[in-house]
Amino acid sequence: MGALTDRLSRNQQIVLNSYRNRLVEIATVFGQNRAAIVALVIVSITVFMAIFAPHLAPYEPTETVYAADGSVATLQEPTLAYPMGTNHFGQDVFSQWIYGSRVSLLVGFLSGLSVITIGSTVGLISGYYKGVLDLVLMRVVDILYALPATPLVLVIAMFYGSSVWTVIIAMILVLWRTMARLIRSETLSLAEQPFVKAARASGASDLRIMFVHIAPILVPIMLIEGTFIMGASILLEAGVSFLGLGATDMMSWGVMLQLTFSSGAIAFAWWWVLPPGLSITVLVVSFFYLSRGIEDVTNPQLR
């Protein structure tokens, strides 16, 4: 009895060690990619900003601020009191900028996760079952490629009213197409592998083969494309909000730029134009570099 538990714990030790070694290896490879580390730091800071926005922002995003003489402080250049100046309504740009991070991250994470779920499921089913089902699903994907995302989101927002949620749902409806194609082509070749035949011979159901045997191998691809989609959808939300049909119910970086543009303040108000645009750019680039970092870790050929 004692010998058996001994052996068990030794086995657990070995498994644990191999996991630990694997984690250390991943961390090392990821750590060598300096851009990916910087990207991770930037995304973490943005997440922190979004979570603690009410504590970090000195004012409410739509609160009117007043100058010392009691007049509304409109279009002020940056000062200590207003680190990013004020806009033409007399609102604090710094507070709006902090709250704006919430929309971008919400949009990025929600559409990234949904695209991973929907795109991978369609890709797995299409590549595993082949035949007519595959043909139909892939024609649907082809058709989605003919629908540019920005106009589609616009039209859906026109009918359902513009809000963050409309934008997110409309984006998910089109953006899963690339994921489905990628996962399908990988599944097509994986389904021919001996381990799939072995699993089938030992009585595993189709669902089990798809989601327990094939899907885990494709996790890296899902993460690489999913992280890319996060960046892309942040850009898309900003664009639609800029057109006045996006996150009108929340203060987003795109909405800030729309206000700058429509008020004509772009002629001079650099303090109001630069922060939101720069933040969108930096956050999106960070997601792209994260995606490449994951690729480095999971694809040894690239090293």
Partner: protein
């Protein structure tokens, strides 16, 4: 040869199926969604007779399936109805606007696909050296920066601060030309077009650049390049004449996708620069709930994308006959 014709026929059939599906999808998207066109069109102030008359003009009194069949027939004849806003036929209006859109997006995409491969080849040749590391970074930043923001910065600097360029539009307010030639061939047009073209070009540069870079890196150790080096050709020669040329092939497929992105992005670009194109027409139609124009513009954009994809498929099978073998099987 047989394989090539089979491939072309197959692509043609696919194109027709896609066209039909997209046109159908857009019809139902615009009819079935809430906020039906009748309520958008008719103000509650109107009397019942006026309301009825308006609905009949726009063909909205028929049952849905009758509307659908009429609509299919109309689309084939290029009839997208009349605009709710200005009462003129949608199709000629949209075609005119699409030409304006192409006048800035095509030069930008062509520039990107001319310079991109050159830049990408250089990145690949200097792989993991500063030129590649920072160059790739710059290209990625140009892609990640929202075009409405870079457009705003461009306007801020070149038109408001320096005063060199106009702040938007396609022509000076005094413009009275009517023909297509004087619309696009003038110094005035160029002055208005240069900033949107440059902004669009920078945004679209990343795709061809990075695709060529990655393809070239895969090719760098290919035996045929080693042979060329062994033959004593200069690195420059090996790189451009033999390496880049082979890396170019996959780019043809991406050019069709790029055109799709160009139309999607044109809505935003044209709004920033008050450019009278199809994207901006669609945007103002959406804001005004002018659904025939919004639907017509959307259909137009999708049809152009599908047809161009077909054209690209045909071009690529003539350049690289291997495409036909892969294509016919699926």
């Amino acid at each position: 040869m047989v394989q090539k014709s089979r491939y072309i026929l197959q692509r043609l059939a696919l194109m027709l199926v896609s066209l039909f599906a997209v046109i159908t999808l857009l019809f139902f998207l615009f009819r079935v969604l809430p906020g039906d066109p009748a309520s958008q069109l008719v103000s509650p102030r109107f009397s019942d007779e006026q309301r009825q008359a308006l609905l009949e003009i726009h063909g909205l009194t028929e049952p849905l399936h009758v509307q659908y069949i009429t609509y299919l027939g109309n689309v084939i004849q290029g009839n997208f109805g009349v605009s709710f806003q200005h009462g003129s036929p949608v199709f000629p209006f949209i075609v005119d606007k699409t030409i304006n859109t192409l006048s800035i997006t095509m030069p930008a995409v062509l520039l990107a696909f001319t310079f991109g491969p050159f830049v990408g080849a250089n990145f690949a040749w200097h792989r993991n050296k500063p030129l590649d590391t920072y160059g790739t970074g710059v290209v990625l930043v140009a892609f990640a920066a929202p075009i409405f923001w870079t457009g705003m910065l461009g306007l801020m600097v070149f038109s408001f601060y320096l005063g060199w360029l106009p702040a938007g539009g396609m022509h000076a307010p005094t413009y009275t030309g009517t023909g297509l030639v004087d619309r696009f061939v003038s110094a005035d047009f160029l002055r208005h077009a240069i900033l949107p073209i440059v902004i669009f070009f920078l945004w679209r540069l990343s795709q061809p650049t990075l695709i060529i870079r990655n393809n070239m890196i895969d090719l760098l150790n290919a035996p045929f390049l080693k042979l060329k080096r062994a033959e004593g050709l200069s690195e420059r020669n090996v790189m451009y004449r033999h390496g880049a040329r082979n890396a170019l092939l996959p780019l043809i497929h991406y050019s069709a996708l790029a055109i799709g992105f160009a139309f999607g992005g044109s809505i935003i670009l044209e709004t920033v620069f008050s450019w009278p194109g199809v994207g901006r027409a669609m945007w103002s139609a959406v804001l005004a709930s002018d659904y025939p124009v919004a639907q017509g513009a959307f259909t137009m954009i999708s049809v152009v994308i599908i047809v161009l994809n077909f054209v690209v498929d045909i071009i690529s099978v003539y350049i690289d006959p291997r495409v036909a073998e892969e294509g016919v099987q699926t």
